[in-house]
């Protein structure tokens, strides 16, 4: 075994596991599922370390996203997250109430995995749609349609927030 490679991997895990756990949690909405998702991705990274050691995080992130949206994984998933609660409208206030943000979070968790992944890449990671498509292994058109459907679903669940569909930036 290459000891320096093992050490590199250990340092990578120590340095990046916090952010990667958060990413997995946002995608799954479940602590245990997030840990499993990250663990599986890291095992694959370790198996291919010689090939990916120069940019391991991109590889691990790609695995996490693709595992999460893969058909087999979706099919195996038994549990569905709770649906959104309808928030009280924040009348006369430009700021979004805590309740509304919680409701939005619940609505995000109710999105199908692929739509949620697109939103995470689009709004949390702030990536251009071409890169979103590359990471998810789909076309740019699919990214656009998934983004549109996701925002529409959120808007229907939470009409008071005034969400609008915007073009995904290039």
């Amino acid at each position: 075994m290459d000891e320096s490679a093992r050490q590199d991997f250990t340092e990578f895990v120590a340095a990046r596991s916090r952010q990667l756990t958060r990413l997995a949690y946002v995608l799954t909405g479940d602590q245990h599922a997030a840990e499993d998702l990250l663990q599986n991705a890291l095992v694959k990274a370790a198996a291919n370390w010689g090939r990916i050691h120069t940019a391991p995080e991109a590889y691990v992130r790609r695995i996490i996203y693709r595992e999460q949206v893969s058909w087999l994984r979706r099919r195996a998933r038994r549990r569905e997250t709770a649906m959104a609660r309808v928030p009280e409208p924040a009348a006369g206030d430009d700021t979004v109430s805590v309740e509304a943000r919680l409701a939005l979070r619940d609505a995000l968790l109710a999105l199908p995995p692929r739509r949620r992944a697109v939103l995470v890449l689009r709004y949390l990671e702030d990536l251009p749609e071409s890169q979103v498509a590359e990471i998810l292994g789909c076309s740019v058109g699919t990214v656009r349609s998934q983004n549109h459907k996701a925002v529409t679903q959120l808007r229907l669940a939470l009409p008071s927030l005034g969400l609008t569909n915007t073009e995904v930036h290039q």
Binding site: T10, A14, S17, L23, Q39, V43, V96, D126, L154
Partner: protein, 226 residues
Amino acid sequence: MSNTDELIGGALRDLAEQAIIVPPAADALWRAGQRRRRRNVMAISATAPGAAAVATVLAFTLGGGPGTPSGHGGSVGGATGATGSLALSTPIQFKQVARAGGPRCPTSINPMTGRAISGASFACIRFTGTGMTVTRLQSARVQRGPGGHRYQIDIRLTAADARRFATLTRELAGQHSPRNQLAIVTNGHVLADPVVMAAITTGRAAIPGFATQPQAEFFLATLLNG
């Protein structure tokens, strides 16, 4: 940035902050990864004359509750290991079940996943004094289970342990439930408690029930390397 961008981005950031950060066991993950990488170059024999008998007799489901042996699943193909025997850092114990479905157990850690198991949902299994402990395996291998959608660990005992295992299973096979059940225990946690229907003389067994290959490899790496 639009209001929509801010709202969704903010909610996603809120969600991310709720994650509980549990540092992964990097060493174990590394070993699991290396085992995965080497999997296809290990010397594995496909000859398994006793596999069918093992499948019938020692088949169990890890997901099932204590005292509920499934009787289906099982080993497919053989698992004669690479070379030599493998030392286990975590011994595997085979224990005769005395009573299943007893009082609730205290919360413990599931060695399969590393997660806490609530004592409220699992009953304790009581053992007789009959059993054996295995600290070495002739071989161990992760492979797809029957049906191809789950994974299992095929194990082969050393020759000496296989003889003890044959004696143990022969003794249990003639007894009434639950004393004909053989619990497989690591770190104080029952992985499974299959019914033994006949003596197992091949020294082979299978631990099925893993949802993913990395999960099975991780568990095997934990058994072998701690």
